[in-house]
């Protein structure tokens, strides 16, 4: 029988301090209030003073309320029964179905030994050329989508979820609007993947501490599936809400803020979560895609900035397109050498030209005379945007590469592309003679 403690000495923000003994750091507790019980977690021990962060918030907590310590860290039940289910940030069902009865796993497991990681080498096809050609997504990668509010980032996330070949999809919603949650649900249902999806959703109306637990719950469950040999895809939206919750707790605990009020360990806290993405040597893998909204479209804001240093690249979503500059998949080199020999050449060549095209557009907008070369670049830029960059384009990789060659051939002479001669000779679309054209048509009709 565990002891109850009832000597609450401080209530501030979401943190309650209580006099208690024999309590472990990071341990879980239950506080019983008039509103019902709530989970809480030990975040500081000082003599007999134990500080607890209350998952349901401290509103309505009385100094006479009772706290019972559970002698274990936060856990989540783990079994195949989780599939198709929806939970909240404290792990309780959100879908009016019964609680899961299964052996629990601890959240926040220790770091994976780097020796036990495999080199990621398996490309995930998404059908989005801006990802597949220019910044290939790789199994076990951790990638954020940097975006401002209002961009279709949740749609993009859901689309990747649907099209990527994953055994298990885990969605973690933080500070999600209720209708966004419903939208995800519907998309997954229509796409026929709900049966292999698990959702942990914290909506904007829920207590802030629960938001902190969402990534840990998702990753603990995902890791357990990966250890069973499954390919897991974790989708998190939005990690800025998570970081803001961290900030709130840190300020309450009177920690010295480092940058715009965020705690000095923001990098470590984010890294602990993102680094869970893994390809186990001898088991499955976990890939993480996370939305990071940038307040004021400012990439130097502490949250996107720290994230960028942790993750293996980033996608910028701007004006409904994945922006080629700044977007980066650090693991693309592991996979794009084995797809087709022209993949890398197209990737570099097309972007260099597009970058020059943007400079030309600036010149044009300032009213300068356009040279012949400028005209070529402008023509190229428009075609590239319509046929490749547009998010509605949904074609496999090889088709997308061929399309790039067609655009290049339509706009430039081979030597102007800056692509190496050996590659050009093999792939430059040839002008078809009338005979060949007829032969091709015949082949097509057959």
């Amino acid at each position: 029988m565990r002891k109850y403690f009832d000597e609450i000495t401080r209530i501030a923000g979401n943190v309650v301090t209580i006099t208690a003994s024999d309590v472990g750091y990071d341990e879980l507790a239950i506080i019983t209030t008039k509103r019902g019980p709530s989970l809480a977690q030990v975040i500081r021990l000082e003599g007999d003073q134990v500080s607890l962060q209350i998952f349901a918030g401290t509103q309505g907590i009385s100094t006479g309320d009772k706290v019972r310590f559970l002698g274990r860290p936060m856990q989540v039940p783990f079994s195949d029964d989780l599939l198709g289910r929806v939970f909240d940030g404290s792990g309780k069902p959100r879908d009016n179905r019964p609680e899961i009865q299964a052996d629990p796993v601890d959240i926040g497991s220790p770091a994976v030994n780097p020796i036990m990681r495999r080199m990621p080498d398996n490309m995930i096809n998404t059908g989005i050329p801006m990802i597949d050609i220019f910044n290939s997504l790789v199994e076990s990668q951790k990638l954020p989508i940097f975006s401002v509010a209002g961009e279709p980032y949740n749609e993009l996330l859901a689309r990747v979820g649907l099209q990527a070949e994953a055994d298990i999809i885990i969605l973690g919603g933080m500070g999600l609007r209720h209708d966004d949650y419903l939208k995800f649900r519907n998309t997954f249902e229509e796409g026929g993947v709900l049966g292999r999806t698990i959702m942990f959703v914290h909506t904007a109306a829920d207590p802030v501490v629960e938001c902190l637990l969402v990534p840990d719950l998702c990753l603990a469950v995902g890791e357990s599936f990966a250890l069973q040999g499954k390919k897991v895809l974790v989708l998190l939206t939005d990690m800025t809400a998570f970081s803001d919750s961290l900030k709130e707790i840190a300020i309450t605990m009177e920690q010295i803020p480092s940058n715009r009020g965020y705690p000095g360990d923001l990098y470590t806290q984010l890294a602990k979560r993102y680094e869970k993405a893994v390809d186990f040597d001898g088991a499955g893998s976990m890939t993480t895609l996370a939305v990071v909204t940038m307040p004021g479209d400012d990439v130097t804001h502490p949250v996107p900035d720290n994230t960028g240093y942790i993750t293996e690249g980033q996608f910028y979503l701007r004006n409904g397109r994945i922006e080629p500059f700044g977007s980066l998949s650090r693991l693309k080199q592991q996979v794009n050498g084995d797809t087709r020999d022209d993949h890398r050449a197209i990737m570099d060549g097309c972007l260099q030209l597009y970058s020059t095209c943007r400079e030309t557009r600036e010149k044009r907008d300032m009213g300068f005379e356009m040279s012949n070369w400028d005209e070529k670049l402008l023509r190229y830029g428009d075609q590239f945007e319509d046929k490749i960059m547009d998010l509605s384009v949904n074609i496999p990789l090889f088709e997308a590469l061929d399309r790039c060659w067609d655009i290049l051939a339509d706009c430039f002479e081979p030597v102007e592309t800056g692509i190496r001669r050996a590659i050009l000779e093999n792939h430059w679309p040839k002008e078809l003679t009338a005979e060949e054209e007829a032969a091709e048509e015949a082949a097509a009709s057959a």
Binding site: D22, Y25, L45, P73, G108, V112, N113, M119, D265, R420
Partner: protein, 574 residues
Amino acid sequence: MTGRIVAVFGNMVIAEAKGDVIQNSVGYCCRADGAKLLSEIIRVRGRCVDLQVFEETRGLKIGDTVEFREEMLSVALGPGLLGQIYDGLQNPLPQLAEQEGFFLKPGKYIHGLDLKKKWAFTPTAAVGDTVSAADVLGNCPEGIFEHQIMAPFTLREECTIKEIAPAGEYTVDKQIATLATADGKEVPVTMQQEWPVKRALAICKRRLMPTDPLITRVRIIDSMFPVVRGGTYCIPGPFGAGKTVLQQITSRHAEVDIVIIAACGERAGEVVETIREFPELTDPRTGKSLMERTIIICNTSAMPVAAREASVYTAATLAEYYRQMGLNVLLLADSTSRWAQAMREVSGRLEEIPGEEAFPAYLESRIAGFYERAGMLELNDGRVASVTIGGTVSPAGGNFEEPVTQGTLKVVGAFHGLSRARSDARRYPSIDPLDSWSKYTGIIDPAKTEKMRSVLRRGSEVKQMMTVVGEEGTPIDDFAIMLKAEIFDNCYLQQNAFDEIDGATPPDRQQFVFDKILEVMDTDFDFEEKHQARDIMFKLQDLFRNWNYVAPDSNEYKDFVQKIDAFIAAKGRE
């Protein structure tokens, strides 16, 4: 000596000590389930001792015992370090994986050197010889090197060798010699010794001025912003600008004996790449696996933060140890910003008064102290050896006006600033040729590099002007300079890291190509029209670029030289 825990907060533990404690010595926090968590004393106030714990503190309770030791945080030095992969506290990760599986269990430690393996020791000193600290007693082969067994670094006076083992196979903890001090005290010697990581190890006659260029085969570094053996350099850059790729290339091609990679608070994936790839790659100079001359210290971002702080010191100590053997060592620290952040986290928990951006006030002196561990030494027996330190910096928001970058720039000899604009335009390596600098002299005559820099500067000015006055408003001579600067940038400064030949240019080839480019710069092409100028320069650029991809001893190579010479002679006219 023991104490008991009175407070736990993050990775900080406060304990009440029952006796004398030593600042920066090691303590173990004993968890109820028997695990002992390694920690270090970082502050003493009255009876209260503040410890930073190198593990997750989950499960520690008030009243738990802390065992205090007398030694400081140390590493074991001896044969068997090369090729190893350690965490920040010198636990060998492959052995941990064998014993514990997928995860790094808190409280699990393994000795840094294999205690069972036998090494073939050959004595080179004899009974009766006098030796002082770091003098060679004998050696044993370690991979491609002759590992020297040295007299303990902690010897304060000259000793006489009383006993020394005959040639034979010994484990590292087996006594191989006995030394006697003047007053007859005996000092046992094994093939391994311990050294505290936070103290610099430099036993030498004197420190030398570093002047030998350290060839990295990266053209922009060797030709424009050289690094020297025993020097220091830093690579600051925003995320995604190619810091890590640059570090990896350097570690492969740098002309040094030993490379130590300290992956400090960075992505695990990148370390895995190194761990998996290095054993497969052959060292171009020895023909053996690259791993045989590499040590990896890896404390990735998800691993405990206090150990991250220790990891750069662990790496520096290992580097200094091999320097004592007369070798040239390159230490790559990626990234020093994570190390500084670890200091900030600890400082915050100690509730110290914060400096700029909440970094502690002693940040700059710590950075300076770390880079000072580099250097070229003349050892006591006259050999010359060096430790070169290259650190990456990850400034918040890519803005170099932040404490870590600024603190680093004050103390390093070369600055390779990476630029977002260049990496966006896929101009790799994205070292900014206008902002970067080096105080060292490299393989190219400084007068020539200065000339190229002025062309680059002028080219960039013309480019900027063109955005205001347009192409038609630019004089043709200026336009030509801009195009020439572009050729230098595109065909020389940029390099394809993933191509076997273009990715690594030996120094003689660099000098040859550099001179060829200078010829282009000195040629007046007499352009009449801009589109003609652009056409000609595009063609020349194409020649140079394809030349870069050609093996140096092939016929194609000679072809290209001829074609380029002819092209320059004809000023591009056919």
